[in-house]
Symmetry: D2
Subunit: 156 residues, 4 copies
């Protein structure tokens, strides 16, 4: 196992069988699989899909969108959040992320973890498109010791 | 006039009256005004809205979404594009951008120009929420000498 | 304690007294304090400094650099890494990060954790400018379940 | 000619012979060629170098630094600026950018144009590593109608 792949606290997350999950979560994962087909990734050829479940039951789908200048692209998770937020949906329950890597789960990148953490802790489900094994975790586990802007400077 | 505000080629763009514009463009601008109300900008308090007109007539709305770690946020223009792309709409005609600055137009930032340029040249309409004067330009004018990834390396 | 501030695995990191640390680490922390004075942060007024210790003993300093378009800025940690990399120094031992927040440690944002994880696991020391209490952690703890690009596609 | 490659105002920039340039600018271009060799770009294999000339004569070198999560990387231009800023050098005269593309100049991406514009207008020299033809332009030409944050909100 490489250092980069190690998990400091393995017990903090679980791998579950897709069929053992709540049916609503199964639907969210299926929508993430569909969302993935819209990925615009001519540079990496690496397709990622996401589906964000809001507290009111609405699901927003996202895919990764690359750019010839790599740093300007957007990931699938942020696309899904941006859709929800821009339509006034600000309360979330869970996000599903789908990518295909033979030997590892396609977890959210650090930038997405930071972006998502702004809106509180939600469950995160990560799987391959065949929807068999699912990594079950949450934002707080994925981003411990979160950076918080000095809140006293701002009124929300 | 400050150096940062100067325009190297003033003739490359025009300021038009809102009422003189095509009625479809007027609608796009109005939707951008509405989109702006969803902005999540607790750090800057600076709300921006965008509305992207696809070739098939669909309009996607976006707003800016900030983060406590500033670099991880998303602008209104990218939000609108991400929504369209993640639903399979890849052909665009125009984008409207709405922000309120007393003395200047809230033009797209360089990152958004780069992001949008990936998908070809479209018209860009920039106005204040009161929809009076409208800066009319396009992506090619906003991003001359565009960076292009060595295309021979990629098959689209 | 807010949800955003909670740590899923408190035992994964420690708070140490500055004076109890290795003298080289003390020096790295002091250089981060000095680096912080160069922060360009007219928008947030929130100064951050970093100092990166290379395996060969060289220390590179960084500060945060903001932009009127927030997403385009750079954090202190990435500045320090960029300096080292652009001078051919690719092996690291530790990074120190200094910010002032009354009630919390100014930990690296998710984007910086992602950026740093590319170069392996190193120790991370986080403190306030007065250099009293120091949060001692590392990249793997700060970014569990790291995203790894499908390595089979690339030859390093 | 593709739409993405067109220039709205060709007269706004020039292509000069390397040997016709000021000797200091020739040196800056040569340093950018050397800086390019440090590029960390395992994903694109596309090396870029930059060298930033400060008003006091100091030259800072930068290279592009990629990340497995593409959006988190840094370009050569921003690396050079970050080095200068983090050492207190805030006044610039020119930047040189070197990349190899057979048929086009490797111009700064939109994110870098935005980042650089924060610090005023400077000359930009773009060339291939063989240092023959040099595109001579400046930030204002590369980023017309710049976005400016509502300055009344901030005191610099
Ligand atoms: Zn991501
Ligand atoms: Zn923008
Ligand atoms: Zn950061
Ligand atoms: Zn760039």
């Amino acid at each position: 196992m490489s250092a980069r792949n190690s998990t400091s606290d393995p017990s903090a997350s679980n791998v579950a069988k897709f069929k053992s999950l709540d049916t609503k979560i199964q639907q969210v994962l299926r929508e993430a699989v569909e969302a993935r087909t819209f990925a615009y990734c001519p540079y990496s050829k690496f397709q990622v899909g996401a589906a964000l479940l809001c507290e009111n039951g609405t699901i927003y789908r996202g895919c990764n969108i690359e750019n010839s200048a790599f740093t300007v692209g957007i990931c699938a998770e942020r696309t899904a959040f941006a859709k929800a937020i821009s339509e006034g949906n600000m309360k979330y329950k869970a996000i599903a992320v789908i990518g295909y890597q033979e030997k590892s789960f396609t977890t959210p990148c650090g930038a997405c973890r930071q972006f998502m953490s702004e809106f509180g802790n939600i469950d995160v489900y990560v799987a391959k498109p065949e929807l068999d094994q699912v990594l079950v975790t949450d934002i707080n586990q994925l981003l411990p010791h979160q950076f918080m802007h000095p809140s006293s400077d701002y009124t929300f």
